[in-house]
């Protein structure tokens, strides 16, 4: 860890301005990801702008739906009664992640920015394009059990490791951000990006942009009954997903009115595909129909050796998650 200076942000705008003028400054919220990366010298900010005292930890109703303040903790969000009742998929996804201690510290905003868990990204002794652009990707020919099978590129096959974000993608959340030059709203699908030839960029935000809140759309409440978050991992808790599925169905009797399926652990962003979801529109909840969705979502998937099993695993997990959702099993 290098030496750095520290300041406590007083207002969103000034904090954004501070980071826009200093390219080696970084925001810090719960610190559960950033501090680890600093200890490993992966991140070396010279200045930390602490967001935690900004008044952004509320969870409140708006005319759009439910608004999660960026500084609301993962724990407070997951156990918030309104979230539990109207967006139980989100509660379940959050609680499938990390540990109780981490969720108490981790913020909703920080969760969006958590970086990949690719082993090479964490280890300065090995080349990694995401950490050091142009140095090469060690994972492609190395140990890639935790890496992606969809939307990968020749320069990076990393995944976004979040559970929370998979549910947010399925719920079509929107993200409100404020930068040095003003405010804007980003669709969740446009928040994260694929690695392409710029794997050092995880998302489409500018460094000075602060996430102030996340909006859960009111119509997301339709999925409060038939949903599941299925997380497959190497131990029963405290492990990142090998594959996870957020499945949500808006059902009319036995007929599916609308389906949402997002995958975690397989790509540089939560993986959704509208055409795959549309396959279920007006259809019955049958295994065959679910298998078609799985096949469509995994179209073009590519394995790299130690992660090739994820292709088959993801297909089975999709079918299982949709079956559970249709049966009202969470």
């Amino acid at each position: 860890m290098n030496s750095f200076s520290y300041t406590r942000a007083q207002a969103v705008e000034t904090a954004a301005r501070e980071v826009s003028t200093n390219h080696t400054a970084k925001f810090i919220a719960g610190g559960t990801n950033l501090l680890d990366l600093m200890k490993e010298n992966v991140e070396r900010p010279t200045r930390l702008v602490d967001l935690t005292r900004l008044p952004l930890n509320q969870i409140e109703d708006t005319d759009k739906g439910l608004r999660l303040g960026a500084l609301a903790t993962n724990a407070n969000t997951a156990y918030d009664e309104r979230v539990e009742e109207r967006y139980p998929l989100l509660s379940k996804a959050i609680l499938a992640g990390a540990s109780a201690q981490l969720r108490n510290m981790a913020t909703d905003g920080g969760n969006l920015f958590q970086r990949t868990r690719c082993y090479y990204f964490y280890d300065l002794a090995t080349p990694c394009n995401k950490r050091e652009p142009g140095s090469g990707c060690s994972a492609i020919t190395g140990y890639n059990r935790v890496c992606g099978i969809l939307g990968t590129s020749e320069s990076c096959i990393a995944t976004h490791p979040s559970d929370m974000c998979v549910a947010l993608a399925a719920l079509k959340a929107t993200v409100n951000v404020t930068g040095a030059t003003g405010e804007r709203t980003v669709e969740f699908a446009d928040f994260h990006r694929l690695p392409g030839n710029e794997p050092e960029r995880d998302n489409n935000l500018k460094p000075d942009e602060i996430v102030t809140s996340i909006d859960l759309p009111a119509d997301g409440e339709r999925f409060a009954k038939n949903f599941t978050y299925l997380k497959l991992r190497d131990r029963a808790s405290y492990a990142f997903a090998l594959v996870s599925v957020a499945a949500a169905l808006d059902m009319d009797g036995d007929t599916i009115k609308e389906a949402r399926v997002a995958l975690g652990g397989v790509a540089h962003k939560p993986w959704r595909k509208a055409e795959a979801e549309d396959l279920l529109k007006g259809q019955a909840a049958t295994k065959v129909n679910f298998e078609r969705v799985a096949a469509s979502l995994l179209e073009g998937a590519k394995g790299y050796g130690s992660n090739t099993f994820k292709i088959e695993l993801a297909k089975r997990a999709i079918v299982r998650a949709l079956t559970m959702a249709a049966n009202g099993q969470h």
Binding site: M1, S3, A125, T126, S138, D234, R235, L313, R320
Partner: protein, 741 residues
């Protein structure tokens, strides 16, 4: 039963309060004014040479005292043997900062010393190192050709063959052969390796070191630096887990002492979690088991061959295959054990070394054979039960394995097991039951102890042994208190200090047997003195008695069973006009008697798993572990040891592996987020049964040691249960979900 009878009765840890309140201090927690902090720089490459090392930026940071590298560090001892320790394998020793050569990934190549930890850590990141890298070889399976293992290491008995296994195998009615493999694993105790070296005013060193043997660390340091024992005292009162990793002095000890002497300052060096992957580990091992049997399941031939990994500089060996010659009755046995040198650090004993992996493979093969011959796996084991140790041709000092099978099976409900795989299911979950046998050694080593009883009835007992979390403090306190008939809180047991009488390394499950026997003997020596004083008390009811006729209970010495006849210890000592009685004894195992017997602990492990049919997720729902381990001294800590062993067995079967990237020759999951050990949510019902086992041969206490047996057999039982659930045999550990898809 007298109030001062403790052995066999549940007692909470005597050090429990100190541990949960933080009063118990560990090697990295001892402070002294003016302490400096060392931070280790680790090599990026696994093989090659350092061509350039530039520490100028680091040295220019305020607070940095020195950056030691091979270019400027002292080389206090030239000869390899000076670097030898009590657990050294055959071979050259690794000598930190002696040369530019890199022999393994994350090799320590520098030590930054600064007046704060943060500055030292930052400075370490500023040291620029250039290498000339060579291609490392770390893949045991790539060219699986090894050489015969040397037999120099204490404790390693070369496997002997008997009969003609090749011929018997060829002629057998039923033949079975398979290959098994497991990856390296790291010990990963909670506490990081650390040494705090305090330079005292007279120049002597007081060293707090994380170790399973303070005497071993002291010997190592004094030999290398040419110091006397008085000049280097080593202390380690508590240990946050060892599992074998502390059986050898680790490099932070050498570096801290070296820096302290060079700078004449007190120095602390603590390794990072990542650096905990830079030294000893359980070696990757490739095994082949061949079994020949009659149609009705009588073993005719056993062949077990293992290829283990070791470093280029030391020949680490462990007892992997010998168990195959001891577990069952069979006239034709052929065993082979080979090593292959790779560009990694030397492996290191890890809980039940060799046995836990050798038996994992062998007990899987036995299970596979049971399906081939169509006999219940438990019945097959009973059919081939070994009445004596056929490997050494000796009777067992005691072996209640049959009782383990019977009591374990009854508790588990084994009789209801359907023979066919895939015959139990609940929804999408397939259920399976498996069994395996475990075996470990019951050893006793030479050990010394000192007991000091003062006239106020307080007893202080000491021995340089350590408590690696196993409950040594508690067991020794119980033994001492019972021997002298004192309340537990009148007894203080001291350990982990080289000023105390010498005990062996804390390993091999021999501590209770060895140190416990010494504690008992020292306390008995004190008791004899008390007795002779008690006889001289005016009108003593004991005047005509011999020592054999009396007992020490409830603070007094009395005729056996006669509560009216006692003389209190205090009264006796007053009469004898002494303020204290001190006795030091060295207890040797009765080799002549012990040599005639094979001395082992045994276990039977029963497991129920559920496996998701589509998704491969595995859950170990139930484990019954029945243990034959001699006399149980401290039931509570004993049970904890077995529980911990079972938990680790689950972890080993399903989760643990140190992932190597062979391109870099580097362990890549070097942190506890990615090196998975079992978490609470993975652990469900575990039942521990201690079967009655009387043994007066192993040692005077009749205790066999329980630190290791608990983990042995668990992985095989789980794999066997998974097969029973799914019909899929996985011959590679850990059994992760992808292997079941």
């Amino acid at each position: 039963m007298a109030a001062t009878t403790y052995i066999g009765r549940s007692t909470s840890r005597v050090d429990g309060r100190a541990k949960v309140t933080g009063e118990a201090k560990y090697a990295a927690e001892f402070n002294t004014p003016g302490l400096t902090y060392g931070y280790v720089i680790s090599s990026d490459i696994a093989k090659g040479k350092i061509t350039k090392i530039d520490a100028s930026d680091a040295l220019s940071l305020p607070g940095v005292l020195q950056v030691f590298t091979h270019e400027n560090a002292p080389r206090p001892a030239y000869f390899d043997r000076k670097f030898k320790d009590d657990d050294s394998p055959v071979g050259d020793k690794f000598k930190p900062l002696y040369s530019a050569e890199i022999q393994f990934s994350m090799q320590p190549i520098g030590l930054v010393v600064a007046d704060s930890f943060e500055v030292a850590r930052y400075a370490a990141s500023l040291v620029k190192v250039e290498y000339k890298a060579e291609t490392p070889e770390t893949n045991l399976r790539q060219k699986p050709k090894g050489h015969k293992a040397p037999t120099g290491k204490t404790g390693f008995t070369p496997p002997k063959s008997r009969g003609n296994a090749a011929k018997a195998y060829k002629n057998a009615e039923v033949q079975f052969e398979a290959e098994y493999f497991h990856m390296p694993e790291h010990h990963n105790p909670m506490e990081m390796f650390a040494s705090t070296v305090i330079v005292e005013e007279d120049g002597k060193l007081k060293i707090y070191d994380k170790t399973q043997g303070v005497a071993n660390s002291q010997k190592y340091i004094t030999k290398i630096f040419g110091l006397s024992k008085e000049e280097a005292r080593v202390i380690n009162p508590f240990m946050g887990g060892g599992f074998g990793s502390g059986l050898r002095p680790q490099y932070q000890l050498y570096l801290a002492v070296m820096a302290a002497r060079e700078l004449n300052r007190s120095v602390r060096v603590v390794l990072t979690r990542q650096q905990m992957f830079s030294f000893g580990h359980r070696p990757a091992t490739l095994q082949t088991v061949s079994l020949g049997a009659t149609k009705d399941g009588m073993l005719q031939a056993i062949k077990h061959e293992a290829l283990g990994e070791t470093s280029r500089f030391e020949e680490y060996t462990e007892v992997v295959v010998n168990w195959a010659g001891m577990l069952y009755h069979c006239d034709n046995v052929e065993l082979g054990y080979y090593l292959r040198n790779l560009d990694t650090y030397t492996p290191l004993d890890m809980r039940a070394p060799g046995s836990v992996t050798g038996i994992a493979a062998f007990e899987t093969a036995i299970d596979e054979l049971s399906y081939k011959v169509g006999i219940d796996p438990l019945e097959l084991r009973l059919k081939n039960y070994a009445e004596k140790n056929e490997f050494e041709g000796k009777p067992f000092s005691s072996k209640e394995l049959r009782a383990c099978y019977a009591q374990g099976a009854a508790k588990f409900g084994w009789a209801k097991r359907p023979a066919q795989p895939r015959s139990m299911r609940e929804g999408t979950k397939l259920i399976g039951w498996g069994v395996a046998t475990g075996m470990w050694d019951a050893q006793q080593q030479k050990s010394a102890a000192k007991a000091n009883l003062s006239v106020d009835g307080k007893l202080v007992v000491g021995s340089s042994t350590s408590d690696i979390g196993t409950g040594t403090y508690t067991a020794m306190t119980m033994i001492a208190a019972e021997t002298l008939g004192l309340p537990l809180d009148a007894v203080t047991f001291k350990l982990g200090d080289t000023t105390l009488p010498v005990a062996p390394l804390e390993g091999g499950s021999w501590t209770v047997a060895s140190v416990g026997s010494a504690v008992k003997e020292a306390c008995e020596a004190v008791a004899k003195k008390v007795f002779s004083m008690a006889k001289d008390v005016k009108d003593s009811p004991l005047s005509g008695a011999s020592f054999d006729e009396v007992e020490f209970v409830d603070g007094k010495v009395q005729l056996k069973g006669d509560y009216s006849s006692g003389v209190s210890i205090v009264e006796a000592m007053r009469a004898g006009e002494v303020n204290f009685i001190e006795e030091e004894t060295t207890t040797m195992p009765n080799m002549l008697k012990q040599m005639q017997y094979a001395r082992n602990t045994h276990s039977a492990v029963f497991v129920e798993v559920e496996v998701d049919e589509d998704l491969g997720q595995i859950c170990v729902r139930r484990v019954v572990s029945a243990i034959a381990g001699g006399r149980v001294i401290s039931p509570k800590t004993a049970r904890s040891q077995i529980l911990g062993g079972v938990v680790w067995g689950i972890s080993m079967a399903l989760e643990e592996e140190s992932v190597l990237d062979h391109h870099f020759g580097r362990f890549m999951n070097h942190n506890l987020a990615e090196y998975h050990v079992a978490v609470n949510a993975d652990i469900h019902n575990i039942d521990v049964i201690f079967v009655e086992e009387h043994d007066d041969i192993v040692n005077p206490l009749g205790a066999k040691g329980l630190g290791e047996i608990g983990i042995v057999g668990v992985a095989a039982a789980i794999g066997n249960a998974i097969y029973h659930a799914t019909g899929k045999r996985v011959r590679e550990l850990p059994i992760t979900l992808d292997k079941l898809l």
